[in-house]
């Protein structure tokens, strides 16, 4: 094997110049110091990690070091880091990046993260890793700075896109990479056309719904690793989960590392869960019944009907927004039930849940995060709490990056309450708070995990309190019963449920629930179906406890 040898000639030029001009020459001391520096900075081995020696103030957890080592030594610097929420994927990515920078293999780096996380990444890389990362604010930053953090939405737009394509990046890091699961999107295309010498894709949920998602993700990183599209569909198209196919699993594990909380051996602070069943007022109940009765006249799709029921449980405002949108769709032609519903909405004078929330917040007397699925509810709650002298901060996915940081800081330093909608929940770290109110419950258990993961993560020193609100005798109570009493969701460590749902191949858990609620002809049928579902989950649970544990996926 003949490898080309490159001689750096810069020293030689300087030397010849000095010979000609008879100096200047260094002192013997400086000469020795210079050589000592070279000794200190040289990399003695292809294997092992140098980064920890450079970061004595940082104590990475064993699983984080293991990930970094594996990516560098076994995965050639291209990997999907898929640890569960809260296990420190950023630390892992930072370690890997630092390692490559120390080894001189990486200089120019592009880090693409959700807008809300940009400044968090910049701070962590600078403070924890001494990596001079810069937030992309002006277009010259792409060219002039070596380590740039930006949102993918900015990066993919002109003129940024063109400038980025001209840069010669050594490493690309993408956080929340599950957003690239669909190969038909602009984001996907943008990343596909980036040159990826070394590449890290970070996601806590590498597969959310369909097995193809992992194919697309892996194909960004290492095209062909799972075959081409035709091959994959033919071979694994019918596979419902990674566990179902050993071969596929082992292939994926060559490019993906997934640690679970249970594997890490870390002691987590306790999680206390309290269910609060709320009684509707007479008017609220009437509104709820009115919506429910629409089922008999079969108005709208089952989906929108259940959505409307859930909205009534949240706030009349949430329902009103939906009705208004429906009206738009009907182009002004009011469906017969419309006026009746509006009338019922107008009759509602109080929000029983909001009153309960107020009472709770006052008694907690500490920082509280309220999660709701609906923006209208968010606005209402903010107004309602203000009426009672409690200032709160809203948080949404759509906020610009600066605003998100500002809101987080406001919450941390000034306000008691943060009201977040679903999309706002992703990626922000709020360990300084340990009370969470689930004002309404998402039906996708994984999203519930994401919510709780905001506060119950590494660095949380307090026990975490979770309050689940549900209105008595509504779909909400059914769901809560299932999630809480039957699946024991809230007591589980994060990620366990993922395992279980995978085992029973219940990826579209939400659809399944919709089906139960809408297609059951009686309460009795609904109960039986729910019990079936519970039994399935129990079954998988037992398998899980007695059976094998998976190192990855």
């Amino acid at each position: 094997m003949k490898v080309e040898i490159e001689f750096d000639s810069t020293w030689k030029e300087g030397f010849l110049e000095r010979l000609e001009q008879d100096g200047p020459w260094s002192s013997w001391d400086l000469y020795q110091l210079s050589l000592e520096v070279a000794h200190r900075l040289s990399i003695p081995d292809f294997y092992g990690l140098q980064a920890p020696n450079h970061l004595p103030h940082l104590t990475p957890l064993p699983h984080q070091l293991e990930v970094a080592k594996q990516v560098v030594e076994k995965m050639n610097g291209k990997a999907i880091l898929a640890d569960e929420v809260g296990l420190g994927k950023t630390i892992e990515a930072g370690l890997i990046l630092k390692e490559y920078m120390i080894r001189g293999l990486v200089k120019k780096v592009l880090i693409l993260v959700p807008a809300s996380l940009v400044s968090q990444w910049v701070t962590e890389l600078n403070e924890k890793f001494f990596i001079p990362a810069v937030q992309q604010k002006k277009s010259y930053v792409w060219e002039q700075c070596d380590v740039v953090v930006s949102s993918i939405d900015t990066a993919k737009k002109s003129p940024h896109k063109e400038i980025i394509y001209e840069q010669n990046y050594d490493m690309i890091i993408i956080d929340e990479a599950h957003k690239l699961k669909n190969n038909k999107t602009k984001n996907y295309e943008f990343v596909q056309n980036l040159k990826k010498k070394f590449c890290l894709l970070l996601t806590a949920t590498p597969i959310q719904n369909r097995i193809e998602e992992i194919f697309h993700l892996v194909s960004l990183l290492k095209p062909g690793h799972l075959g081409n599209a035709a091959y994959f569909t033919e071979k694994y198209g019918k596979t419902r989960s990674l566990h179902a196919d050993e071969h596929l699993k082992s292939l994926v594990n060559k490019v993906m590392i997934r640690n679970r909380r249970t594997d890490t051996g870390i002691e987590w602070s306790k999680r206390n869960v309290e269910t609060m069943i709320i009684e509707f007022s007479k008017e609220e109940r009437e509104l709820y019944n009115a919506v429910q009765s629409l089922k008999n006249i079969s108005a709208g799709s089952p989906f929108s009907l259940i959505t409307m029921l859930r909205e009534v449980c949240s706030s009349r405002e949430a329902l009103f927004v939906t009705l208004k949108n429906m009206l738009k769709k009907h182009e002004g032609e009011t469906p017969p039930y419309f006026n009746e519903l509006i009338e019922k909405i107008n009759m509602v004078t109080k929000n029983s849940k909001a009153e309960k929330a107020l009472e709770l917040i006052q008694s907690i007397n500490d920082k509280v995060i309220i999660f709701t699925e609906y923006r209208a509810t968010q606005l209402y709650l903010q107004w309602f709490l203000k009426q009672h002298g409690i200032s709160s901060v809203p948080f949404r996915g759509g906020f610009k990056r600066g605003k998100k940081d500002w809101m987080k800081e406001l919450f941390k330093n000034k306000m008691q309450v943060l009201i977040a909608t679903e999309a706002g929940g992703e990626g922000i770290n709020l360990q300084f708070c340990h009370h969470v109110i689930n004002y309404d419950l998402p039906w996708n258990p994984m999203r519930l995990e994401q919510r709780i993961g905001r506060v119950h993560r590494l660095g949380q020193t307090n026990d975490v309190y979770i309050y689940n609100f549900a209105v008595k005798d509504t779909v909400e109570e059914h769901i809560l019963k299932l999630l809480y009493e039957k699946i024991h969701l809230f007591e589980r460590v994060i990620g366990e449920l993922d395992d279980i749902l995978t085992k029973v191949e219940l990826h579209n858990f939400e659809d399944y629930l919709h089906d139960i609620f809408f297609n059951s002809r009686s309460e009795g049928e609904m109960r039986i179906k729910m019990e079936n579902l519970t039994a399935m989950i129990d079954f998988a649970d037992n398998l899980n406890k007695g059976g094998t544990t998976y190192a990855a996926t």
Binding site: M1, V3, E4, I5, E6, F7, D8, W11, K12, G14, F15, L19, G23, P24, W25, S26, S27, W28, D29, L30, Y31, Q32, L33, S34, L35, E36, V37, A38, H39, R40, L41, S42, I43, P44, D45, F46, Y47, H54, P56, V72, E73, N76, R103, G104, L105, F130, N193, L194, K195, K196, K197, F198, S219, K222, P223, G224, G227, N228, A230, Y231
Partner: protein, 266 residues
């Protein structure tokens, strides 16, 4: 690098650069920078420009470095240094820059006023890097006798045993090199090349294998597409950058050494 080693390094670095060490305590070091070193380390060109233009009195800074956490240093205001901190790396870079080129003479006191010839050597300290998607470095220290062409390894270790001085000592004279320093460098480069070629390069074979495997996967990925899209070529280029084995040789520092001839050396 241990904290006490960092401390020792700082001490030598500032002394070597003529900076007064005001205090050298347990776990801390206070040094008064010279104008030159202030310019080197403090990054305040505007200040120096202003002072020079207005003829003001220059006030170089005094720096406090903390290398160990003690009761005393806890109260001290200063920069905490550890291996990996940006300031230390800045000092490393400065040391490397300032210690690149040298010319020294062996300091000998000849007896009976007899003139002693000093033979010219070219000394080089070299870093060799093997690089693919991984990397390893090793250092070489070579000396070339510029009269007879003999090459010795671990040259630096030999130098460390001697007493060296920047000025030619009394009663000593230097012998003019027969081999010009420029061609001396070429000879040493050739020597390094031979050394490298005899080394084990399974690392490169393995990298080529990984590279080839990934190329095959890539080709398979696009095999059913008649015209390869642009991202195919981008990916291929990325694979080359990722895996292609390269060997890089750079000179850390070096220079001319005039040494007394010894029977065992040349």
């Amino acid at each position: 690098m241990q904290q006490h080693e960092i401390h020792h390094f700082l001490e030598r670095y500032f002394r070597a650069n003529q900076c007064e060490i005001a205090e050298n305590g347990d776990g801390y070091l206070i040094t008064e920078l010279t104008i030159d070193m202030d310019k080197e380390l403090m990054n305040r060109p505007f200040y120096w420009h202003y002072i020079e233009k207005t003829g003001g009195t220059p006030a170089p800074m005094t720096l406090t470095f903390i290398t160990k956490q003690t009761k005393e240093t806890e109260k001290l205001k200063g920069e905490r240094l550890h291996f990996g901190s940006p300031r230390l790396h800045q000092i490393f870079q400065s040391a490397q820059k300032r210690g690149s080129y040298i010319r020294l003479y062996e300091n000998i006191q000849p007896s009976e006023q007899q003139f002693v010839p000093l033979h010219p050597w070219l000394g080089l300290n070299v870093k060799v890097s093997y690089q693919c998607d991984r990397k390893r470095d090793f250092l070489l220290s070579l000396g070339l006798h510029l009269i007879n062409g003999a090459i010795v390894e671990q040259f630096q270790d030999r130098l460390e045993q001697l007493e060296l001085t920047p000025k030619i000592p009394d009663y000593c004279f230097t012998i003019t090199p027969l081999i010009k320093p420029q061609s001396g460098i070429v000879r040493l480069e050739q020597y390094i090349k031979n050394m490298i070629q005899q080394d084990d390069h399974s690392w490169a074979d393995e990298a080529l294998k990984r590279w080839q495997e990934d190329i095959e996967l890539l080709d398979h990925f696009y095999e059913e597409i008649d015209e390869r899209p642009e991202c195919y070529y981008i990916e291929k280029e990325a694979l080359e950058e990722q895996y292609k084995p390269r060997i890089h040789v750079s000179i850390i520092n070096g220079g001319l050494f005039y040494l007394q001839p010894r029977p065992n050396v040349s």
